[in-house]
Symmetry: C3
Subunit: 469 residues, 3 copies
């Protein structure tokens, strides 16, 4: 692309090609485009909002921490170190130059969409980033970041984010959340989410130490499995008191297993000592997923499950750069057999909400829709990660709706660390829903009047209802 | 949706959005919309037609026995008992009220499409069902059900069902079928289908007793495996004499296995005694699928296989409500390795027809189309159950046709217990075929003249030819 | 279809139905339709070009050796023997008649598209083949085949094939390639590809003998595993000297395994003796895939992997007709776990190119795009075999592009034995890319200016760059 190409965000972007369908889609979009954002799951730290410091620089803001962006630059030949990934000191101007030079590799990707929207709508940039204009854009954005309206809290107002759920370690003191809750000048909600992976995933590095710390901190002096369960329950209560409505589970598989108390306690002892077998670790993780459901039935926390990613796939990159650096690779997932113990015992429990996410599209029509179409507890999580993109979202809709209708959907989840991308991501979801529903209207499968209701339900009411916000 | 919203069935429903493509689709639809219905596989009891009694009431007719409907109401919070499922006594007016109140959850589902067509076309209802009009609609439908034209036989004429295949227990005396065949005033064909699951699926409840009964009834006094095979062959002959053209197999997996006679006989003895291993049971089922193919090669019955559903997934619901109550959940299926023993021995046998159905869409392009594109015996069953819906059917077409063309398709199968939904279901299939072919015409991949022939072949000739009707 | 139906190739074939999108697609197609063909992987023998003999007859040219064609005729009732498959002597006129009589079964298939284009564009045929005109068409084509412009070299000019890569046995002397290279009157490039399956796939018939021959020929007198590796390296060098840029691997699974040298040598000895366990054979194949990557890192040959086909599925047909006779059936594939040893060690090696093909569409979005979106070595192979068709290619684009953009694609590969179909196949790919990109333009996801660049990149530059041509 020539270096002075214009960068634009078209008002009809992502709407269906057929003019009649597009007309309906525009009308449906108009029903939701001004609604506040509900973000029931994401990775923006509460401290970012609480401290309200200006963002550091364009590279730190838009490149280095976003593994969607750095992974593709890496595939295209950049070293992660040169992008500042993994705590490596890198000149942000250099990082930014590398990013701008590689801008075109993001064409037609989800990241490309989000970045374009951020650049144009947020920073008023009107030319395609390139080597030639990288420094100029860097200055321009840096200047904007210094302005008061670019502080996180002001942006949260500007973005009209009503609720933002964060993802937090069970031992987090949630002070940032408290500070925000207690600040009467701030009307937006920032809620914690209980993410206990580090204390449940027995294969994870540091698991044994984490468990020890957990029991010591919150086990009320009890030991062994009893102390462990007590500590987990205590920390869940602490989160609930701080406003949490959900837990979140990043598991390798959705395997669940019911052990009797004695069996579970023995297994815990073996796993806790370290050096046990992989089979033991797998069984422990499966049992603890079951236990988390049991606790959710008791305390009402919504349970979100994100399975099927082989985390830290590239051992060398993990050793050098740590986790979340772009090399988590999905694998095939089975929900039907895996979740049966859990669903047979808790799937029909009143008030229990289990939101299932997947990176394996084959489960949309085969397993997830049938499960959500029977169990009152099971809700369909929005297309996740590699699937959080217009065509994939459209496939999701077409794959599940004929079995479940619209009522079993948990609403869009942006799942992002990139605060500035939140409006762009929700915008994409709204456009996809509008386009999908418009097709149904044109095909006389729902009436236009009903589609206007459905899009509001799906965009606004579903996440509030399913995530108990 | 406001309670007085109009309920309509648009003549262009389900046709493609693009106006030029829709025009062609309309023309193609006109080639088949007045053709008689051929229904080679379904679950309407022959006795319903033979006895020709009026339908009981709207709830019994449209809600309680339809697990597509009750499952989604259940997911939405209704108890199955309140819907009369599982033989529970429930006031049909209450069931109907619950159904009407939940009408909107079926929006954009396959069931929603069928129900809307039934309501409007069959009962002349013009308003969306709701709590407010539930009683009025109940009265209206009840009154129509009392009229002579709503008796099953008259409906079979009105629906213009030429052939209706039922699904029957091998020990059924098929008296209802005989009565219909002998009734010279009734010109439609109602044919039995041999469904031996209860006598082959060694994991099924009651298997041992069933086998004993089978051998005692039809084993010609022989015992052991010999008596068992003899009984099966005898009952197949009985079905053929009664007009059957096909067998149907609901199996967990399509695994097939060739055992020598001694090995099979020993395995039969172990399995028959009960208390054998799961491995033995799996092997027995796989071997018997192979044997069914062998018998089909001999006696000419078409063999239809429906694998990949985890039946009665929710143990508690099964205990309370029994089978076919909405919690059969699909699992991933492998056809390639599983069917190899069967196909290597019988796949090229003259006259053998093997119709493969799936709930796992991933097998459409990967396994089913390649198999049907080589073996003269293998035919593609229409998208089944959760996939019997417009978008899923369109995906099926796009996934298989580029490999197999149109000649390997077995035709649409409604597979329904809901007699009144038969025309609506076939109507959807015809519209999907018209829309798919119209796209090919517009993309200059088939000529309009050829598409007119293909749609008649696919809708009318294929099921007659493949199911030997 | 009536026997005198016209046969046509429409200039708008395969372009999107929506008129606005089609207009853009036409414009994008015009950017690439006159570009030379780059064919980095296929099965046309170099000798065909080198010897430049006239093609034998229409049946030998278009039917008998094309297992895409004979398989569907076989499914439709023809015997492979009657089509001349497997070296059976068959009257080519009879073969041709059978093919013409069955012409309509190819409607809407990929083969149907290619054949129609060949018939119309190449032979100027204007009527649909049928029993009635079979003999006439036979004469017509036979006459054309006798003309000088139908000799292979002239066709290579007419088709404007810039580079054609063949697929060759490691012990091939590559004399035909040398002859072409040395012929100054011939300006096109015909390059060998190193395909060592017969020497690596320990399950293959003849493996033990093949290995012995390999080591004897190229092992420099060394024995055992050392001689085996030496021979492979030597032959790779020989291929490189003859112009090869790539290796190609037809493996059952993409499993890779790293063994230490001692373990590998012991395993080699066991496998080479024959009679070892299947587990040993699997391990050996997995280890050798790893070794091939290691050698590629060293010598720079691009590594193309084609996994997931159960070769020679029908034992009886294989015994009678040999390999590549239409009954290779795909199975589900896992890339993520399988390739991890290989990718962890070589995935980031400078200059290493690994092109992954699949017959299992489920891996497009789940595994292949994420892998290619991180590893600089991993490229997405074009949709292969059963997936080399317009709708499947469109699904591929929609499944991978949102994760990887356009830069991770290896370009179209025709993979064909059917020399005359090469232009038709590349034409389909160009049209699909134009249609896909046009949709993105209309949906404002890429600009028209950028789409014009992307289509040239994808069609022309990508295969040259990725396959190092």
């Amino acid at each position: 692309m020539s270096e002075s190409s214009p960068l634009e965000t078209n008002p009809d972007r992502l709407l269906p090609a057929d003019p009649g369908t597009r007309e309906v889609a525009r009308e449906l979009l108009s029903c939701v485009e001004h609604l506040a954002i509900v973000s029931p799951h994401g990775h923006v730290p509460a401290a970012t909002i609480a401290e309200n410091a200006p963002f550091a620089n364009p590279a730190q803001l838009l490149v280095t921490p976003d593994h969607y962006v750095t992974r593709l630059l890496h595939a295209h030949g950049a070293s992660l170190a040169s992008l500042g990934v993994g705590g490596v000191a890198a000149d942000p101007r250099e990082v930014w130059r590398e990013f701008c030079a590689g801008w075109s590799i993001f064409d037609a990707t989800a990241s490309g969409l989000w970045l374009t929207t951020e650049m144009t709508e947020l920073f008023g940039i009107t030319e395609v980033p390139s080597s030639a204009n990288a420094d100029r854009l860097y200055e321009h954005i840096t200047q904007r970041l210094g302005e008061p309206e670019f502080r996180p809290r002001r942006l949260m107002e500007t973005f009209d984010i009503d609720v933002l759920a964060t993802t937090d370690d069970p031992l987090d003191d949630l002070r940032a959340h408290a500070r925000l809750r207690d600040d009467t000048s701030f009307s937006r909600r920032v809620l914690p989410t209980f993410r206990p992976d580090a204390y449940l995933n027995a294969h994870a590095v540091g698991f044994v130490d984490n468990v020890e710390r957990l029991v010591a901190t919150a086990g009320e002096g009890r030991s062994g499995y009893d102390g462990y369960l007590t500590a987990l329950q205590n920390r869940r209560r602490y989160f609930i008191a701080a406003g949490a409505s959900a837990t979140d589970h990043g598991v390798r598989t959705p395997l669940s297993l019911r052990l009797d108390e004695r069996g579970a306690a023995d297994l815990f002892d073996r796993v806790r000592r370290g050096g046990c077998s992989d089979t033991d670790r797998d069984a422990f993780e499966a049992h603890m997923l079951y236990e988390m459901a049991r606790m959710s039935v008791e305390d009402g926390l919504v349970m979100a499950v994100h399975p099927g990613s082989w985390r830290n796939y590239d051992a060398d990159t993990y050793a050098r750069c740590g986790p979340d650096t772009g090399h988590d690779i999905p694998v095939a997932v089975d929900f039907t057999a895996s979740l049966r113990p859990l669903l047979n015992d808790f799937g029909k429990s009143p008030g229990f909400h289990l939101v299932l996410f997947t990176l394996d599209e084959t489960t949309f029509s085969r397993e997830l829709a049938p499960l959500a179409g029977f169990y009152p507890s099971v809700y369909l999580g929005s297309p996740w990660w590699f699937l959080d993109a217009p065509d994939a979202m459209t496939r999701f809709r077409a794959a599940v709706t004929e079995t479940t209708g619209f009522s079993r959907y948990a609403g869009f989840v942006d799942d992002t660390r990139a605060f500035l991308s939140i409006p762009a991501r929700h915008d994409v979801a709204r456009r996809v829903e509008a386009g999908y529903l418009a097709r149904l209207v044109i095909e006389h499968r729902v009436t236009l009047a009903r589609a206007r209701e459905v899009i509001v339900e799906v965009i606004d009411r579903a996440p509030r209802r399913v995530f108990k916000l």
